[in-house]
Every structure is written in C-alpha cells, then in structure tokens.
Amino acid sequence: MSEEALRGLVSSRSMSRGFPRLGRFIFAECVAGAYLLVFAPVAMIVLISFFAQEIVSFPANGLTLHWYANAWARPEFSRGLLTSVQVAMATTAIGVPLGVAAAIPLVRSRFPAKAGINVLLLAPLALPGVVTGAGIYMMYVAAENVLDTDIKGTMVGLVAAHTMLTIPWTVRLVVASLQGLDEAIEEAAANLGAGPFTVFRRITLPMMRPGIVAAAMFSFIQSFENLDLTLLLVGPGRITLPVAMLNYLEFRMDPTLAAVATAQIVLVGALMLVTDRFVKLSRIV
C-alpha cells in the first residue's frame, strides 16, 4: 500500500482533524510497519519457493517449479497432507459440537463453578504446546498400561489431543456469538408456540451459525498446523504434514519446504475465503 493511500486511510478514519502533521506521519509509518511485519515472511516464503538454487541466497539464480515437483514426488509430504487433513477434519467434527455444548451453559446458566470452568476451558491457550503434549503423552502411557491398548501414536490419540487443543477456540467464538444474541428472539419463538427443543433448533442454532462456522474453520486450521503438541504423539505411518516438514528439515534445507509451505498457505487461504462467503469473519474474530 502506498504511503499516500495509507495516510488517506489514517486521516479519514480514526485520526481527528487538527492532529499534528508529524504525529500523523509517525502513525502512518507504524501502520505500514505492522503490515510489513505481518506480510513480509509470507511473501518471502512464496518467493523462495521459486528460487532455482538449493541453498537460499539473494538474488535468485533463476526461477523454477522444481521444488514443487520435488515436494509432490516425496511420499512423506503427500501422506502427511492426507494425515493432517484427516486429523483436522475429525478434530473439527468432534471438537465443535463439544465446544458448542460447553459454551451454551457458560452464557445461559448460572452455576457456582462457572467462572472457574471458564478459566479452565481457556487453559490450553495459555500452556506451551510442548508442555501440554508431554502431559498428554504421559497420560496416554499411563492409560495404555491400564487399558492394555495403544493410544499414543494412534489416530484416536492424536485426534483426542487436537480436540482438546481446539475447544478453547470454539468456546470463545460461540460464547461471543451467543452473548450478542437477544434472548427476546428466543422468547418470541416460544411465545409463538415453539417448545424448548424447537426454539434451539430453529432459532438459537441458526443464529449461532456465524460463530460455529468460524469455530469450525479455526479448529481445522489449529489442528492442521499444529506442530509442538503433535510432535510427541505421532507414530509410524501417522506423520502429520508439519511433523513431516520438520523431519525433512533435519537433513536438507532446500526450498522444497517453502514450496510445501506455499501450498499450505494457499490451502488455508482458500478455506478462509470460502468461509468468508458464508460469514463475514472480520465481524466475528
């Protein structure tokens, strides 16, 4: 974005008239800096994925699609992608209904431990993924001893851990969408003859849809991109894409990873665009 356009944006919106010129200039620079910080790494990854040379250096020796071909050819990436998508979909399918169910009483009911439960539900957000992952790993080991069955390294174990990771997001988003909901609308439905279950199905649920759609998207992305927690829980043949990328990095540092990352960026971006067609994400998140 050009500086002029930025200044126009800044002065026409939040800045009041008569704001000192210097101050306005500094503010515009800060905004530009923030945009740069957000977009530069993404732009750099996309750029590097086309570089011809194996060891990244500037300027490029030439541009190539070779790394994309290489990424496609290596089975660990395609298998990783498949695993990641499966895990993310299962996580979303299980986590969103659970999160919605957890969110409703947090908004609608009064019970003694409410504040405590609210904090506990957000706890996974505050813990480093490695710590949570280690905790879950140890719990799985203990559970395996008792149940005499494999949990760690299995799909079930991974999905369960990811579900736990995504629930705070779902709860937050659904709570926000429920809080903005006028209860009079549900009462109006009851007044017109709808029983409690019908009110929920026909009124409450459709009105929560934006929050639920956003929650589903965030859950999917959270699970799809998670590395730190997943690292300890994957097993042979169940490697997710981020873990596969890390493994690859141990041996080579060519732009293949940038190509995989670019593909990932495109995938997530497409998901957001599709979601945005149904709900205006910027209004919820």
């Binding site: 006028d182 009079a184 609308i185 009462e187 109006a188 439905a189 009851a190 007044n191 017109l192 003859g193 709808a194 029983g195 019908t198 026909r202 009124i203 459709p206 009105m207 849809r209």
Partner: protein
Amino acid sequence: MAKLTVERLKKQFGTSIAVDELTLEVAQGEMVALLGPSGCGKTTTLRMIAGFVAPTSGRMLLGGNDITRVPPHVRETGLVFQSYALFPHMTVAENVGFGLEMRGVSRAQRGPLIAEALGLVRLSHLADRFPKQMSGGQQQRVALARALAISPKLFLLDEPLSNLDAKLRAEVRTEIRSLQQRLGLTTLIVTHDREEALTMADRLVVMEGGRVRQVGSARELYEEPRDAFVAEFVGRCNLLPATREDDERVRTRGGLLLSSRRRADESSSASTLAIRPERIAIEPGHHAEIKGQLEAVTYLGAHTEYQVLLGESERVVVTRPTPVRDDPMLSVRTNDPVSLTWDTEAPRLIPETAKD
C-alpha cells in the same frame, strides 16, 4: 379473544418483591395499560402473564382457564417486544408464518393467513425482505403481524414504541390502537410513557414499587388522582404541601391560604395540594387574590410556561396558550408582580401516598 384475570399475583426475587399481590382484570376486547416508572414491576407482570417468569404466588386465568403453570409456548398469547425480536435469519413472511407452522398449519394454508396478517399492517409488499433490510417502524409492524397471525387469546405489548423516533411512534401508536379496536383484541400494554398509555388504553393501571397505585380511565387518573405519585406521573402537576383550613381553603406549609373546595371523598390524611398548570390563570400586577413574582418564562411554541414564586418559597408552574397581540402577559418580564386565580374546584387535596 378472551378475558384475562390476574389474582393476587406476586413475584419475589430473593428478598426483593418485584410484584406485590397484583390483582387485575382485562375484559374481552379491552385495552389496558400498565404504566409506571422503570422498576415498578410492570414488565415482570407482563412476563409472568406470557409465561417467562414463574410467579411466587397468585394465579392467572385466561378465558376461564388457569394458566399459572402453563408453559409459554402453549399459552396462546401474542407478545410484541420492545426490541421487535424478529428472527433475523427468516424473511418477513417466514417470521409471520412461524407461529402458524408451530400450530401445524400446512405451507399451502399458511400463505393466505400470512398475507392477511401482513395486510393488516400494510406490509404485503415487503413479504420477502429480511428484517435487517427494514426500518424500525416496519420491523415493529412485522412483529405486530407475527403476533396477530396466530389469533392469540391475549395480545401483549412490551414497550412496543420505545425504540421508535417521535414521528413513527405516533404513527405506530395509532396503528396499534385501530387494529386493537377493529379486531376487538384483549390487550395488555406495558409502558413507562404516559402519553402512550393515555392515548391508547381504555383503562390504565399505574404501578409503583410492585403495587397498583390507581386504576382508571385516562380522564379519571388525570382529573382525580388518588395520590401525589399518580398526579405527577400522569401529567405535569403542581404539588404543594398543605393542610385543610376550612371547607373552602387550605393552608400551605409556607403559610399561604389558598382556595380549594373540600370534596366528599377527601382523605383525612390528605396533605398535598395538587393543581394542574393549565388550570391556573395568570395576569400581570397584584390585582387578584394570589400574589406572586414571575421567576421564569419558557416559550414552548403553542404554549408558554410561567414559573411563579408565591410568598417566601413556594413555586407553581402555570401554562397557557402563548399570548399574542394585545395580551397584557406579553409585556410581563422576569421579577414582575403577577397574580394567579383558579376555579375553587380545580385543586385537589390528596395524600402523598394513598393507603388501601
């Protein structure tokens, strides 16, 4: 349509009593307004009648059936909310048809009924719109149509005009009243706006602190308020602490003797002289019996308001049509001497709070 009877209805939240032994009747086809300041218990009363709040004690009958413990969705009341409460994800027609759908009316049969309800509020042309594409006045009319479409036994209105601007308010008010009369709807409206209540309802119930202060027609409440609260709540009123001197006069706390004929129903605990500003005549100079000093003049267009100091510390407000041309009041300025006169029947000596 059916008659509503509310008997000794009480609602207690913890230790605070929101509604205290309220008894009320709305005759078939009658429109009754619950009027009172916020927190007086009027909304709680309405919500108990609609079924959203369970009463602590007392009972409610609709068309002879006890509905006290009946859940809201089978009460057959049509409730219109202050916030409209339209279903945002449904079109106008779907909103209006929702109640019919819940009653198992088939899609084919719903069509004409929806059209009829929308016709009542003159919105047939907007049937396919979504609520957010409409103005506040239109949304409130959709809410009216939605409540009427189910042919409720009782029509309930919860501050239906509060979210509308002044011009629309008058329009929707007229619309509600004419619908109510045309269809003979048994109606209970809750409002804090006295003008709304005075202009729409057949009878008004003035509430305060969870209790009924007075029930009556708009004229009765305005002309014959039972106590100072009602007098002031239903309209502008001069209230002067005073005691009965003889059958024709009262003495104010400030020591002034003012004319006020004793009424047959005057309470022995009456301690406030109430007189409406428009019942007082004002003239320049000190030629009449009640002498005072003009403190302030407020021009209100059609009317002008005069604040007059009587004696040492007692103030009354006088309103009259704004003087024009040769009217002697035109030349009166602040601090000038003025005199007041009133019909000896005009003021009433009433209690601060009426006791039952």
